[in-house]
Symmetry: C2
């Protein structure tokens, strides 16, 4: 079975959407990635840090899904990273109301001994210095290294981010971030420039407009499922990344055809994530539901025209 | 051969984009629709009005493409409808600099006798009263009536527009317009409400994000081709509509499967339209080029996953 190492935040979130609001609930990029990738035939481990306030039984819950949490450092006298945000009515934009780094401020990631040679490495969205530290602790290059990042790191830690980007095979970012990173408006040109920075595969996430995969002049488009209700978009991008790397790690296949399946599956899982607050939907999601929705993705995109 | 009747503007445009600007060039919804649909096996006719300033040799050029222009009234002492616009740097938004209705202000459309029983009717974007007048001149309901309209008519002629919407089988509008028309944010809900207003098929155009086709609970997604250069977006929506109705009229097939081909083909033709200023690209476009690009649409969307 593939070993998948995930580095990212494990956090508390407080979320407000037009449909309601939550108190502190469990969130964090690594949490969403691990929940999504646990749908596949992989052994995963999270490298992260939490405070003494983080519920131990949630770690147990992750362990029950074959997610190794021995790399999640617990700082008993510290507090867990906390993010609060409020989504606007269109659910495409949001205001950040609070970002309390807490134990994340001095996070020094430690890859567990038994996960020092993972087959796959997923660098969830957090400080590029932390991502680089994890890369440096792994002596043999994994089969595939996937990076998720965001505009915040482009604005604040450009040089460190560029060092990480050099080292990865796949980058997943949204369309505005692809434009910012490359200085190109047309996404096909943006992808070309980003290829030159390092990643052989560029995945551009466009929220309700789906996602684009670029590789050596080839492009593939995974639509987002048109949904009646988007309840809470939090974690959708991380879940997409988790579905993507989970598909690849579960099949041990890094061909372009399998990457296509991976972006479709990422989009599939993300469409569930947004149906409830936080991680709630992902915790009860079944393989049968995923398969059923896959048929909708096929119906949504399949057409037949003879090319003469 | 199918008879396709097109009502819409035949106009002069002055366009400014980040890449350059034009003096008065030929434009108009009916012009773009007719040029696109002339790629298919159809006999078409335009109902419109121009002034004495409109070049007669352009009408001749349309005739050479099997486009009947006897329904284009020429008011010799009048001036042709003129629109001037300037696109912003992202090419997704624009400012209207001038809208001189001229002969369009008192336009009273007259369907030529030999086109009074068309197989297909395409109502290009213009005043709903003109669209309704054309509907009323046709004694037998065509096989399919397609309506293209925009927010301007929703803001200014709501009641007249609703009367037209009741009479059509297909409506093509953009995502913001679908939201305005239905009062629903989620496009799948918007399409349901619009179905209830009349059209059995709802096509939602999303520009660089492609187009969605909705019909009786089914959805289909046609991507836009990721383009290196969008030179001038003018006429892309009309060209999409022309490729859509042209495909259907050329095959005489109004099944959902053929509608899928029609939105893919509409998206295909629109991707050419934006490559040059105005109608320039559409005038030289060949069937071979269309077929070649169709393969790109297949590659862009085709994936294989076994559904268990």
């Amino acid at each position: 079975m593939s070993k998948l190492l995930i580095v990212g935040t494990v956090a508390f979130d407080a979320i407000e959407t037009p449909f309601g609001k939550t108190d502190k609930i469990i969130g964090g990029a690594a949490t969403y990635i691990a929940l999504a990738s646990s749908q596949f035939d992989v052994e995963s481990a999270i490298v992260s840090v939490v405070g003494g306030d983080f519920p131990k039984d949630y770690l147990k819950k992750l362990n029950d899904r074959k997610i190794d949490t021995s790399g999640i450092e617990i700082i008993e006298n510290g507090k867990t990273f906390f993010w609060a945000g409020k989504y606007h009515n269109d659910l495409n934009t949001r205001d950040t109301l609070a970002t309390d780094l807490n134990v994340l401020a001095d996070f020094n990631p430690k890859v567990p001994e038994h996960f020092k040679t993972p087959d796959f490495l997923m660098l969830g969205n957090l400080h590029p210095a932390v991502q680089m530290s994890v890369i440096n602790q792994i002596p043999v290059k994994p089969k595939l290294v996937v990076l998720d990042t965001m505009n915040f790191w482009m604005n604040n830690t450009w040089d460190e981010l560029m060092q990480v980007i050099k080292k990865v095979d796949v980058i997943t970012i949204n369309d505005e971030e692809a434009r910012q990173l490359s200085g190109e408006y047309a996404l096909i040109k943006a992808a070309k420039k980003i290829h030159e920075m390092g990643p052989e595969f560029v995945v551009i996430k466009k929220g309700e407009h789906g996602a684009l995969l670029f590789h050596q002049g080839n492009a593939f488009y995974a639509p987002a499922l048109p949904l009646e209700e988007v309840f809470d978009p939090t974690g959708a991008g991380d879940t997409f990344a988790g579905g993507f790397i989970g598909t690849i790690a579960g099949t041990h296949d890094i061909s372009f055809d399998n990457m296509k399946r991976a972006v479709i599956t990422g989009s599939n899982l993300a469409s569930f994530c947004v149906e409830k607050f936080g991680t709630e939907r992902m915790e009860i999601l079944t393989k049968a539901e995923i398969h059923e929705r896959l048929q909708q993705f096929k119906d949504l995109t399949h057409f037949e025209i003879d090319v003469e």
